[in-house]
Symmetry: D2
Subunit: 354 residues, 4 copies
């Protein structure tokens, strides 16, 4: 087991990349060897990401570009690359790095789907379809053994993580019906990324809440269904409704599913506790509900269950920080698992409150 | 038809009461004759509600108490009373005023439920159960003829309004199944009232989202089911999940229901447009989704529909301002209907944006 | 006195233009005859400004362009034009309308400064410098007689209004020294306009506060100094520090000035009450401080004073809504004054709370 | 030098205490041995502070009470106590612990002032005035040598820290005049503590900004003046205006002072860089302004300067997180200094962004 890894971050100035900077900087076994950015290559990090200003080994560092011809140089500088670029771009650099011997943890959507046709429908042709079967889905609580020594890790999407964590144990144990599961998710605005959008302007977001891409339009649906189906070992279909909430970070998901057989809420908790005995998922006591405010900046997700007995309906709930557990921290957790380190190594388990 | 009404507001310093002050103050046919408050009786309004400071006929007014023995005096001063007090207190003063000849529009939960047993389970014994059958549910789009000349009006709850408006047309036309309708609602914090609560403190709310009173616990469920059942002319049961969102005003509801028969989304819109030909409900174009930011401070509600064809599931969506359309403006709209005035008379149709 | 005015709004889809729509729509003597927009010409208003959706005479209206050759047609359709366009563009269309006989209330910076050289330094060459001396500064509490029958009105800037209102009475009565007045202002994000900016993105604003354009850089300084100097009848210089605060609306200004002679805080209030006997400025009781939350959506400004006796320093404080009293409502108030109508006619005096 | 310290936190469930939990939990040389709370003694930490839920050695821990008779037991369990209790209570337990041999870092106002009479005027009689001269003011950048091996450390207040950091270098070098310094500060709501207050309710705070305790009323003024006077080696007086801003964390201070002699902004920076060569203060480049969003959750403060040349006025600006650099992290930093460890040991230098 190597004592430390040299790390490169590709896409270091987006919100996910910035969160990676924060986590890598305080991780005892990771050292930051290279940061790269598309639009900000050549600039001082502190000028683009002021929170790094004044911090030794961060603020004064200069952002690299990531031309393919530089890959050999990159490969000599790093053991692991976190790629957090727009889809397709992420796969391209990821493939090149992988071939050059670098372990790759990809935070885009590029390696999450197993079926290239499904990928193509949502994102267009995949630039490296042969890699899809090699990538390990980076959810350590579910794929710990596959992650061990994995060379290509697909860090899960934020919405999918928030849906999979509460539902996986119930589907695996066949406690709920796999049809027409309704997933109603509420996300902070950082989920839309750092690129400018009218719909991300403060005055268009603050003091309001709204759904978007309802009724089967959102690109995270195939990922959710793929993973839930793997747990259920049969096809699962979902209705997924994302919402934009006036906060920077956090996802709160409430998933509704029909009970498959009479079950008590304590049994729901029990199967979840069993599945999450290891890792970074907290299963709340019966009667409690999760709050994204309790996991802001934390690598942990909170999961809870309730039973609407009149309707025979289970509520599986999850709160997580979309940038931390839903992206950067989960990627580091997956790397920890790949390296054989404890899941929580170097990760903030307790978030900022308030 | 009287040209003007003299109005009293009981509970003028809570958020609903303050919104009533705003609306009554700018209504061309209402004049404010008395404002009363439980805990702030005897104080200048401007000291308790600073937004009224400096406004003629508002800021310098003194808040009355509302002892029962004052009812005869009250009755001589006003034609209409808006009662916006805690439950039971509201029914008590409402009953006395009604008997003294005052028209009463009650904004508490006290006159919304038809069945005193259902009321009792949620709130305890009803202080005037004989009035329940006389009260008209103050949703003008549904009960316009009953509201004409009504003497006792029960202004609907904010969550129920947001659930009933999108679902009523579909249930009335039997386009959706009446079982296991899932209503997932997101509310601003003013819905919790002006009384101090730990869970309403800024630092416990801001930057987070969370469900509460999940799985059949919320007291608005019987009201929702009563009204949806009336529209469906058969029993409707719902799963209701309220959420607290970091914003002051607004409710966004997404209701999920199984399609009863194959239907196009345009047909859903058509039956809604038909039901809402008159009144203050905007049915958005197909493909659009509502946003509470578009109705902040407005008397209008926005309703929209989407169809998840893979799942055969309808999404009925609604955005409204919980204090305006969800409370005070709807109460004034109901009074307008009772008086034979146009629904929108004196009401802000266009809200504050941003 | 004409009973009603037909109104055109140029720049109807920016935040100021949208606020004008709201106010004109509910004004009893104004009828909306034309709405024009640069980038959205030809589109339905409801599609661009969803809060107007479903409202008769608003949502379905189509936005005009404003080519100069259309001015004769515009002139036949309207008595008054509100121009709320970027600087220079506003002056150009304003001049043409004025010459065609339309009364013009301009909400840009184009007609606020008296000296074309001062204008040029901040904004470049003025397109119609001959009009600067004809424009009346649209602050009715200070220029009521000049506004009567005015044909060209320059609606004041939001920051200047918040600085002038508390300071004008003190300078006019020579109660404070005119040098080195420090004006520390905190603004909501809508002040930056509806155009997309990185610094207006939700995640770059929310949960933080920051100054900007400090130490003499902000373009509102000449306007502030011009107006304070007119009140003082001698040159006034200011240090001005604007801040961006995570809220959509509102400006809070605290101005610091040296007492010129020993004075009590009650005397400060007295001269302000005298100056603001008419109009829409509330002078708060001694001991109270203003809050932008008390004037959100209101045409009123709140002014208050405090005295730091140890330092011999006056604090003149002001809260207003930058889009309402700081822009659209003040423009309508100035039109009301020009028409000989009461200042408050058709304007919301009580704002939204919360 | 001891390798590790056992730590007790008194007042672990207030916002400052919770932040201490977060920092101590991830500090490599601190182990948490006891947590105590006044009102929540006997309860599970996870029930009172849900962000600790599920974290080993945190969530399941039970909160102690802190009766004086328990001090001997406490003393045997810990090397250092962080006391974060209301004033007087903090001094009482702090004194007892100190006498029992425990090193004390107090985060209340109890040991910050040197003069018991000044303390008494603001807070009432001091319970242990004899300790005031022994306490070291816990600002490592200014008092590094005194802090070495200090047994009683008074962690500075949040507002004072934000005022002292930008002003201290300028006063020490006599670059600014010591009279009538104006300090205009904007704070997040967590500064008001976790106790319930009407003025801290979400709907009374969100979407607004307001000053409070203006014109010499705020209790932090004596602390600010004491420390600025020590740096200036002559009496300094300040006008201090705190504001409440709708965000949970952060303080932004702009301090205005007259230049004592002609100086360039680069010289201001230079003296600050010199003073802050060691420690956790970032001096931003000339032309940049600080933003609380850049230091959220960070142990670092950002300082910047600007010069208004027309007015001969310096703007000294500072952004920090009131709970981190303004309280808990600064307390740990002071402990680090006392122990001879690097200032940044175990502290988050890069905060959460966004």
């Amino acid at each position: 087991m190597p004592e430390t890894c040299r790390v490169g971050i590709f896409g270091a100035t987006g919100y996910t990349g910035i969160e990676l900077l924060r986590l890598v900087h305080s991780h005892p076994r990771l050292t930051l060897s290279l940061i790269a950015s598309g639009e900000s290559a050549g600039r001082r990090l502190g000028d683009v990401v002021p929170p790094t200003e004044g911090i030794a080994e961060l603020g004064d560092r200069v952002l690299s570009s990531f031309d393919p011809e530089q890959v050999p140089r990159f490969a000599s500088q790093m053991d692991v690359a976190f790629t957090a670029l727009p889809h397709t771009a992420s796969a391209n650099i990821g493939k090149a790095l992988l071939e050059a011997g670098v372990r790759v943890v990809d935070l885009s959507a590029d390696f999450r789907l197993k079926d290239p046709h499904v990928y193509e429908k949502a994102y267009g042709p995949h630039p490296a379809p042969e890699l899809l079967s090699k990538a390990v889905y980076g959810l350590p609580e579910l794929y710990r053994s596959e992650l061990k020594d994995a060379r290509l890790i697909a860090a899960p999407g934020c919405y999918p993580t928030s849906a999979i964590l509460p539902l996986a144990p119930l589907l695996a144990k066949r406690l709920i019906a796999p049809e027409s599961i309704i997933i109603d998710s509420k996300s902070g605005v950082s989920g839309a990324g750092r690129a400018m959008k009218r719909s991300s302007q403060f005055c268009e977001v603050a003091e309001g809440v709204r759904p978007y891409q309802v009724a089967g339009q959102h690109r995270h649906i195939p990922e959710i269904e793929q993973e839930l189906s793997r747990q259920a070992t049969r096809p699962v279909t979902v209705v997924f409704t994302p919402h934009l909430v006036p906060m920077s970070r956090g996802i709160l998901t409430v998933a509704y599913a029909k009970l498959a057989a009479e079950t008590k809420v304590e049994e729901l908790r029990r199967v979840a506790l069993e599945m999450y005995a290891q890792g970074l998922v907290t299963v709340l006591e019966a009667g409690r509900v999760p709050d994204t405010l309790w996991v802001r900046g934390s690598a942990r997700a909170h999961v809870a269950y309730a039973l609407d007995e009149r309707a025979g309906m289970v509520l599986g709930m999850c709160a997580l920080d979309n940038l931390t557990r839903g992206a950067a921290a989960q990627a580091v957790q997956a790397l920890n698992a790949a390296m054989g380190w404890p899941d929580a190594l170097g990760l903030p388990e307790m978030g900022l409150f308030p």
